[in-house]
C-alpha cells in the first residue's frame, strides 16, 4: 500500500526593515501575496536573514479577544501575545513562530516588537514620529496621535523623501543616529521609502497659530524622546538600556519644539 504523504510547499520571503532581514515562511500562497503587497519596497533578495519566523495561519475566530500586547522573556525565549496573535522568538537560535489569522496587521505588530527588542540592545529604537529626508539629512517629527505627524508629512515639499508618517526607525551609528524608512504607516497609508540618512534634528510637534521652532531644556528633550519611544517588553535590563538610549539620543541630536499651522510654509523652517 503506498504511503500517504502530503507535500506542502514552503513559501518564503525576506522583509528587510532598518537593514535587518527577517525571513517569514508560510504555506499559504495567498498570504504570501498579501505580505508581498504589504511590504512592497521592503522585500529583500537576501538569502540570509537575522531572524526566521514560521507563520501558522489560524482560522478567523469571531470571539477573538482584544487583549493588549504582552511581551515577556524567560530563559532566552520571548513570548509575544495580543488578542489577535501569539508568537515566540528565540534570539539565540534566530528563529520563531507566529500564529495569527491571514491579515497583515498581526505580523506588522510582531515585526515592530521584534525590531524594538533588537534595537534596544544596540542603542536604537522605534519612535512615534514621522520622518523624512531633505538635503541628505533626516528629520523626525514626534508626537502622539493627532499631534500632526501625518499632516506635516502631507505638507512635505517635493524634494523631501518620506521615511514614515507614523513610526520612525532609529539606529545608533558611531556618535550619531541614522533614520531608516519603514512600512509602518499612519493615516497617510503610504509606505515610507526604504532609504536612510543621518538624523539632523528631532522636533516635538505642537499645533499653533503660527510656525516657529522653540528650544527646549535637556530634561524636556529627554522626556520628549522617552514619551515617544515604542517599547513593549516587561524586561528590566532592556528598560534600563532603552532609558539610557533616550538620554544619549537627546544629548547628541538637537531636540526642539516645532509649533505649526497646517501650512506648507512650516517646511521653510526645516532642512
Amino acid at each position: 500500500m503506498p504511503e500517504l504523504t502530503t507535500e506542502v510547499d514552503r513559501l518564503s520571503l525576506v522583509i528587510e526593515i532598518g537593514g535587518m532581514p527577517v525571513r517569514v515562511n508560510t504555506t499559504d500562497p495567498d498570504f504570501l501575496a498579501l505580505l508581498e503587497a504589504r511590504y512592497s519596497g521592503f522585500i529583500s533578495e537576501s538569502k540570509s536573514a537575522e531572524i526566521e519566523f514560521e507563520i501558522e495561519l489560524a482560522h478567523p475566530n469571531p470571539n477573538t479577544d482584544d487583549a493588549p500586547v504582552e511581551v515577556m522573556q524567560r530563559n532566552g525565549l520571548w513570548r509575544l501575545t495580543r488578542g489577535d496573535f501569539r508568537a515566540e522568538w528565540k534570539p539565540d537560535a534566530r528563529t520563531g513562530w507566529i500564529r495569527q489569522t491571514a491579515n497583515p496587521y498581526s505580523i506588522d505588530a510582531v515585526l515592530r516588537i521584534v525590531h524594538t527588542l533588537v534595537l534596544a540592545r544596540q542603542g536604537g529604537f522605534l519612535m512615534h514620529s514621522a520622518s523624512a529626508i531633505r538635503n541628505d539629512k533626516a528629520f523626525l517629527f514626534a508626537g502622539v496621535s493627532g499631534a500632526g505627524k501625518t499632516t506635516i508629512s502631507r505638507l512635505a515639499p517635493r524634494d523631501t523623501t518620506l521615511l514614515t508618517d507614523e513610526i520612525s526607525y532609529v539606529r545608533k551609528q558611531g556618535s550619531g543616529y541614522i533614520a531608516y524608512g519603514t512600512p509602518f504607516t499612519g493615516e497617510l497609508a503610504k509606505l515610507g521609502e526604504n532609504v536612510s540618512a543621518p538624523i539632523s534634528a528631532l522636533y516635538l510637534l505642537a499645533q499653533g497659530q503660527e510656525n516657529h521652532i522653540d528650544p527646549i531644556s535637556p530634561a524636556e528633550a529627554a522626556r520628549g524622546v522617552l514619551a515617544n519611544m515604542l517599547f513593549f517588553a516587561k524586561d528590566e535590563d532592556l528598560v534600563q538600556s532603552v532609558f539610557r538610549s533616550a538620554f544619549e539620543f537627546a544629548s547628541r541630536v538637537p531636540v526642539s519644539q516645532l509649533t505649526f499651522l497646517p501650512d506648507a510654509r512650516v517646511w521653510e523652517l526645516i532642512g
Binding site: 522626556r223 522617552l226 517588553a233 528590566e236 528598560v239 539610557r244 538620554f247
Partner: protein
C-alpha cells in the same frame, strides 16, 4: 507610632537632568517625573533612614513647613510612590539587595 523606612526599587531606571528626576518603571516602562519632594524622598531612600528623619532634615529645611504636616504629606507621597513600585516602604529597615542604576 511606628516609623517608616524607604528604599529605592532597584528595578527602575533613574536619572536627574536639570534638577528633574525621571524614573522609568522596569515593570511596564511607565515614565515618571518626580516633583521636588518626591525627588528628595527618592534620593534619601537608603533603606535605613526613617521617614521622619528625612522629613525633618531635608523637607522641613527645604520648604519651611511644620514637621507634623510635612510628615503626613510625605507618608502619603511615599505610599503613592510605592504603589507605582518606585519605592519600597516598610516599618523595618530595608536591606538594599541591588545597586540602583542611576545613569548620568
Amino acid at each position: 507610632m511606628s516609623r517608616l523606612f524607604l528604599a529605592r526599587n532597584p528595578r527602575v531606571a533613574a536619572r536627574v537632568l536639570d534638577g528633574e528626576m525621571m524614573i522609568m518603571s522596569g515593570k511596564d516602562s511607565t515614565l515618571f517625573t518626580l516633583n521636588k519632594t518626591a525627588t528628595i524622598l527618592w534620593q534619601s531612600a537608603d533603606g535605613t533612614t526613617p521617614l521622619d528623619e528625612i522629613v525633618e532634615k531635608r523637607i522641613c529645611a527645604e520648604f519651611e513647613v511644620g514637621s507634623d504636616e510635612a510628615l503626613k504629606d510625605a507618608e502619603t507621597l511615599a505610599r503613592e510612590l510605592a504603589g507605582h513600585e518606585i519605592l519600597q516602604i516598610s516599618e523595618q529597615p530595608i536591606q538594599q539587595v541591588a545597586k540602583i542604576v542611576e545613569t548620568r
